[in-house]
Amino acid sequence: MNYLELIGFIQIVLIATTPVVFAGIGELVTEKSGVLNLGVEGMMLVGAVTAFVTLVITGSYVLAFLFSILAGIFMSGLFAFLVLILMSNQVATGLSLTIFGIGLSSMIGKKYIGTPIDGLTPWYFVILSFIIVFLVGYFFYKTKSGLILRAVGESHTSAHALGYSVLKIRLLAILFGGSMCAFAGSYISICYAPMWQEGMIAGRGWIALALVVFSTWKPSRILIGAYIFGGTSIFQMHLQGKGFRFPHWVPFDDFFSSAPFFNMSPYLATMIVLVIISSNKLRIKLSAPACLTMPFYKGS
């Protein structure tokens, strides 16, 4: 790999990793408030399709991103209503949000598969992703509101006793998570791809969820995790493109040299990293928000 190739490689890694950073940091804020939203994949899909369709109809990039974020707020608002007001099971509700999002996005996008658009340059978004991670970190550790949000996630009863509105704070955190996921989706359909294809998020939402565990709920580590993941997935594509093969003395060399193995390697890598991080039980216990997935009921 020469100097120019290396620059190209880094550029592709930056472009490919950015959406996972957006979605990961959004989900991190939601989880910090004590709510687990497994609907990331669904919200990203709906965000992607909304942005794409808006762009095709109106031709305005600003409106595309705006409507996409509104769609994310709608989706996460639905989730918030169920888990906060009706106190439903967060895992099941998040899963149904993803399934609902798969169906809704396919239905909206049906007519637009293969429609060509002019993609936007991704660089502003790459920079924005770093800024947002910094801002979230600043918010959590340097502002009072950030402290309150963390308190709600650690002990909702104490936060309530101190007079903070647990439900309102959680609602805001969920809506922020939803809009970031939708924004990540719109980046994929407008800058990264740029096109619309059913199920085009292809598991990135789940990778973002894994990232939050990887980061042990610390914003800056979202970046580290995302770039490890992005780096490996672009590296495997690079190897694939070069026609890389394992030598014959490697057991199952045909399998390990095949395209399907390269394609599954990011998921395998995510799993391995998750195992390493969570095998330290104490660290997970200390860093995970203590009230994660617990509903808050004020009582009468």
Binding site: M87, T93, I99, I102, E198, Y267, T270
Partner: protein
């Protein structure tokens, strides 16, 4: 005096009536929402709902198709009930289904020119083992390394799908298949016998019903079923009672994986007859909804599988006659679960309109 805004009061005991009515309320609300969505899209809602929910099952063939779709859903959902009852969130049944199809189907491909009565039972056992082995991975990682089973079981879905992809494109590809990514067909004795001539419904339905009955027996009459339930309701009580949570996790995952694996094998040796890329229209994910809609109870799961199977058939018809993408079925499946989770509120809480003193 009545309040304008009702007060939310926690019930001392969850309401049994609401427990049964919540799924029914959810289905009705989904139908209402569905007709509103169809109206917005410019279809006559009655025509659309008729196309979606009535006409697919108005013929004998349609009812047979409904059962063909409901069979894997009910079997996987029953397996998932073992996990969900214990608050273990195995959402990777799709991968376990795929692995079952690979293990069992692999046996079928190896013996593709053998016609013997033992072939199908061997394939079924292979399917069960394949699914169970795949499900053991998240169980092992959870028990040994404390890894979140939601994420690992889901990642393994992608891995299993890529392994299937590798096999049908590479070593298992049909040498006479004109380079289509598919394998040889199984021999006739490697296929699920049909129950009726001319209909696609096969013996997998009987196997499923037997396994569901056994599961009901395990849930209701055995100590293992009781342990699952107690650990689900109160992990602390289960620990005091001395239940071994790790063994429960292995068993729940193993049973669920075996059921999903059998469902996958039944798909490939039933309606399909060979292996190729798209062996399952997301049965493994949809079964999660079936399990919740059926209240994790075997009988409820049977009803729920029929309702959800109808959304598959309806979506196919809607694609044919109304040019709506088949994925609209997922929209309904998501909606029904939303409403169900919402309606569950009434099981645990009640609304009081009277002002309390």
């Amino acid at each position: 005096m009545t309040n304008l805004f009702p007060k939310i009061v926690s019930r001392a005991q969850s309401s049994n009536i609401m427990n049964i009515f919540a799924p029914i309320i959810a289905v009705i609300l989904t139908l209402i929402t569905g007709s509103i969505i169809f109206s917005i899209m410019g279809f006559n809602p009655f025509f659309a709902l008729h196309t979606f929910f009535i006409s697919p099952i108005s013929t004998t063939y349609g009812i047979s198709e409904l059962l063909v779709k409901a069979t894997p859903l009910a079997l996987i959902a029953t397996g998932l009930a073992f996990c969900f009852k214990n608050n273990i969130y195995n959402i990777g049944a799709e991968g376990q289904l795929t692995m079952g199809a690979i293990f069992g189907g692999g046996i079928g491909i190896y013996f593709h020119d053998t016609n013997s009565f033992w072939l199908l039972p061997l394939m079924i056992i292979g399917g069960a083992i394949g699914g169970a082995v795949w499900a053991m991975i998240p169980a092992l990682l959870k028990n040994k390394f404390n890894t979140n089973e939601i994420l690992t079981s889901l990642m393994l879905v992608y891995v299993a799908l890529f392994i299937l992809d590798y096999l049908v494109v590479g070593p298992w590809r049909d040498p006479e298949g004109y380079s289509f990514p598919k394998t040889r067909s199984f021999s006739d004795s490697g296929r699920m016998p049909l129950l009726f001539e001319g209909l696609r419904i096969h013996i997998g339905l009987i196997i499923t019903l037997i396994l569901i009955f056994i599961s009901w027996f395990v849930f209701a009459k055995t100590i293992f079923g009781f342990q699952l339930k107690v650990s689900g309701f109160s992990p602390i009580a289960a620990r005091y009672a001395g239940f071994n949570q790790k063994i429960l996790i292995y068993l729940a995952f193993g049973i669920c994986g075996a059921f999903a694996g059998i469902a996958g094998l039944a798909e490939v040796s039933g309606p399909i007859g060979l292996l190729y890329r798209d062996i399952s229209p997301n049965y493994g994910f949809t079964a999660i909804i079936v399990a919740f809609l059926g209240r994790l109870h075997p009988l409820g799961i049977i009803f729920a599988s029929l309702v959800i199977a109808l959304t598959y058939l309806g979506a196919e018809d809607a694609q044919l006659f109304m040019q709506i993408p088949a994925a609209v079925g997922f929209l309904f499946q998501g909606l029904v679960l939303f409403y169900l989770l919402g309606a569950d509120f009434l099981v645990k809480y009640k609304l009081e309109f009277k002002k309390s003193k």
